[in-house]
Symmetry: C2
Subunit: 152 residues, 2 copies
């Protein structure tokens, strides 16, 4: 099996992503949290993965404008049939490489406690982080650690 192709996100990727995002998240209403602006104004740090011209994954992120050496991942999604094959890692690697070039040393992301697959018990849950009833788990890693982990 050939590898999915990963390329920078474009505004025209917005509709295909929005069309699948709720389904990929197991039915949660996610689309409102992903306005088109990310596909317009953060293309250099956002990527989509395609396999046979079909969308199979994406990562949407940016460089913090408050903390110039920090990058932030807003959304990462992988088609259910393409999970456990390393595609999420490939998307992360593309993002890490892009933000490292832009001077970042740390990557942060925030996820919801329902994402049990991506949360270790060591990460505290912050209640109401994204509004009432919207608890979140906050992650951060520095890019050197990422590199070590990748190569281990």
């Amino acid at each position: 099996m050939t590898q999915p192709l990963i390329r920078h996100a474009e505004p025209s990727d917005y509709r295909p992503v929005i069309a699948v995002v709720d389904e990929w998240w197991g039915g949660r209403r996610m689309a409102n949290m992903l306005p088109k602006l990310f596909f317009v104004h953060f293309r250099n740090t956002s990527f989509v993965a395609e396999y046979n011209d079909q969308l199979v994954g994406f990562v949407i992120g940016f460089v913090s404008q408050t903390f110039l050496t920090e990058a932030y991942i807003h959304f990462v999604g992988v088609h259910p049939e393409f999970r456990k094959g390393g595609l999420a890692r490939m998307l992360y690697e593309k993002f890490f490489a892009a933000v490292e070039t832009l001077g970042c040393r740390t990557v942060r992301c925030v996820t919801s406690p329902v994402n049990k697959g991506s949360i270790s018990f060591h990460h505290p849950i912050v209640e109401d982080y994204d509004g009432e009833g919207e608890d979140r788990v906050l992650f951060s890693k520095n890019l050197n650690d990422m590199r070590i982990e990748r190569h281990a």
Copy 2:
């Protein structure tokens, strides 16, 4: 009457803003479109206005990472009792000054067709811009035009 005080947005402003945003938008569900990340990672281009320590307005925006000389306004909100007093203009001016310092020459924003007050008939409506049923109106101005308009 003294002027509202305008200062940079902080993460602690997130809850007060989210608590009022649906009401300020006449009951529309807006809170999901404004995740906390803007109050963390785009503080240098986001501002809140306070009057007697009460939140009365805010502007949330950023510099495009795709187009480095463009800035984008994601949200502008003013307390219903403080409208028509020039507060929105004061918030825009703060934003324009901040992004001009960062090298921007153009400001863009997107609004919903229900915001009749902010739309002239010359702006086309883009159907489904932010997903199915989410029509938007796109604005853009260059900062020199803004200056002329301000001083006229």
